[in-house]
């Protein structure tokens, strides 16, 4: 239940947020009108209008929702596979000493490589279809999830482990009922980072070769020098990214009612 004080605080927060957005839009509109940038760049009104238009009038082969669905089709399977594998490997590395010794060097080699650096290799391996896109998005999700899962399993409070043993739990039971739940908030913070990374990487993935998707909207706007279309694509990417992050937080709030991470 929200009390009135919290509600008031929320209202205040939204007002401040709204003010900053308005100021930003005003500066944009003013800048476009009074300087040379106006020649190449549309004002906010036109971008918003075009964005709404894009839901009814196709850009290329699809309208905006069509492009978004295409991009989600590329992101979600790869994200899910990357996350699941990342959780399993990360927890194993964080908890079992020798799994860590064995896999750590490989992981540390892959970790600093930005996913888009894999584009040429992934084309060689998986062709220019969906496979290569899935592969680099998989990497974008996998790397941060592993990292956070490791730190979750590593930082389990040793007192709680002793407490489990004191209560008569064996190693397996302790792993299942203490190590895993303790790691869940860490895993979620990895999943959150991975989701942003995957969504950001889809734009790059769609550069490989595609004729649809939010990334394609951006790429094709470069070919036609259509700055408005580019901005419309950016707005679409931003909004979808935001919605995904909110959904993820909602899921986290449901799954770990005992500890909702402070942002």
């Amino acid at each position: 239940m929200m009390d009135t004080k919290k509600l008031k605080q929320l209202a205040k927060d939204s007002v401040y947020g709204l003010i900053s957005v308005c100021v930003f839009l005003c500066i944009w509109a003013f800048g476009v009108r009074t300087s040379d940038i106006g020649i190449v760049m549309p004002g906010p009104g036109k971008v918003i209008y075009e964005f709404i238009q894009s839901f009814f009038v196709p850009i290329g082969k699809y309208t905006m929702p069509g492009h978004i669905l295409w991009s989600l089709y590329r992101v979600l399977p790869a994200y899910i596979v990357g996350s699941v594998l990342g959780i399993v490997i990360g927890i194993a590395m964080g908890w079992f000493r020798y799994v860590n010794s064995f896999l750590r060097p490989l992981y540390e080699m892959i970790r600093p490589i930005p996913p888009i650096a894999w584009i040429p290799i992934s084309i060689v391996w998986f062709g220019i279809g969906e496979g290569s896109k899935w592969f680099i998005i998989f990497l974008a999700a996998f790397v941060p999830v592993v990292l956070n899962s490791i730190s979750g399993a590593k930082s389990v409070d040793p007192l709680l482990l002793k407490c489990g043993e004191m209560l008569g739990a064996d190693k397996k039971y302790i792993f299942r009922t203490i190590v895993l739940p303790y790691s869940v908030p860490y895993i979620f913070s990895g999943l959150q980072v991975a989701l942003s990374a995957s969504w950001a990487t889809v734009v790059a993935a769609e550069m490989i070769r595609s004729s649809e998707g939010v990334g394609w909207i951006i790429i094709s706007s470069m070919d036609t020098n259509n700055v408005t279309q580019s901005l419309v694509g950016i707005v679409g990417i931003g909004i979808v990214g935001f919605i995904l992050a909110v959904m993820m937080r909602e899921l986290e709030g449901r799954l770990c009612r005992w500890t909702v991470r402070e942002n």
Binding site: C163, G164, E165, L167, D170, Y173, V184, W258
Partner: protein, 258 residues
């Protein structure tokens, strides 16, 4: 109660010549020095000593959470080397599982050992009631007050039916009011569910109020300075003459160790 081959009573917990040294970068520190003690069945023993004297260290060693540098701990005549369900612990830092509800915490040990559902439900119900948390069975830990959390810790340890119950300053984080209340509660629970208890505190009132026997520890390196048998009738009265006399005597003894 068990007897050895010569028909002598075996204490439930016995520590022989327990020493504990910690070595760190700044050198070695002896915390416990030659501690001998024994606790018999259904006895309420209080380990009483100044802060930082090694009470937690001693309790950890007696319960098997830690190992002594030298010396041996016996539980029912068998050497103690690791934590086990027959030695229940209520931790100073509580150590509850925040992802479990009150019931999940209280029943944890029974579930871990594969006790059937009916039984752990019934037992956890009983102990949740006994510590006065009825109605909070499904609450998560972070929604409870400090006193309620400590009650969960006590119920969790009791529910597992240990032979010995170790309690490490369980009330040190509570305000004075709650503390008095919890002391009453512990005395009441102990009368209802007879158990061997080793209770650690640095609060003299608490010690005299609860103990059958007080073991007075000195400052670091800690050894047993003196033992007091407390025969005051229960339930005890903080303001009775005998209570105050004992309290003052032990306080004096304690001051002379500092």
């Amino acid at each position: 109660m068990q007897m050895d081959s010569k028909g002598k009573l075996i204490p439930v917990i016995e520590g022989r010549k327990i020493c504990k040294r910690f070595s760190s970068k700044r050198g070695e520190k002896t915390v416990l020095e030659d501690i001998d003690l024994s606790v018999s069945e259904n006895e309420f023993v209080v380990l009483f000593g100044p802060g930082q004297c090694g009470k937690t260290t001693l309790m950890n060693i007696l319960s098997g959470l830690d190992v002594p540098t030298s010396g041996t701990v016996y539980c029912d005549g068998e050497i103690v080397q690791r934590p086990a369900p027959e030695r229940g612990v209520v931790f100073q830092a509580m150590a509850l599982f925040p992802w479990l509800t009150v019931r999940g915490n209280v029943a944890y040990g029974l579930k871990a050992r594969g006790v059937p559902r009916d039984e752990w439900m019934e037992r956890s119900d009983y102990f949740i009631k006994l510590v006065g948390l009825e109605g909070f069975e499904d609450a998560y830990i972070n929604r409870l007050s400090g006193g309620m959390k400590q009650r969960v810790g006590i119920a969790r340890a009791y529910c597992n039916d240990p032979k010995v119950l170790f309690m490490d300053e369980p009330f040190s984080a509570l305000d004075a009011q709650t503390r008095y209340m919890m002391q009453d509660e512990i005395a009441r629970i102990w009368e209802t569910e007879k158990k061997t208890v080793v209770f650690v505190t640095n609060n003299i009132e608490e010690a005299v109020f609860l103990a059958d026997r007080i073991i007075l520890l000195t400052n670091c390196p800690s050894h047993v300075k003196k033992e007091y048998r407390i025969d005051l009738p229960r339930p005890r009265d903080y303001t009775s003459r005998d209570f105050l006399l004992l309290r003052d005597e032990i306080t004096k003894q304690m001051d002379s160790t500092l």
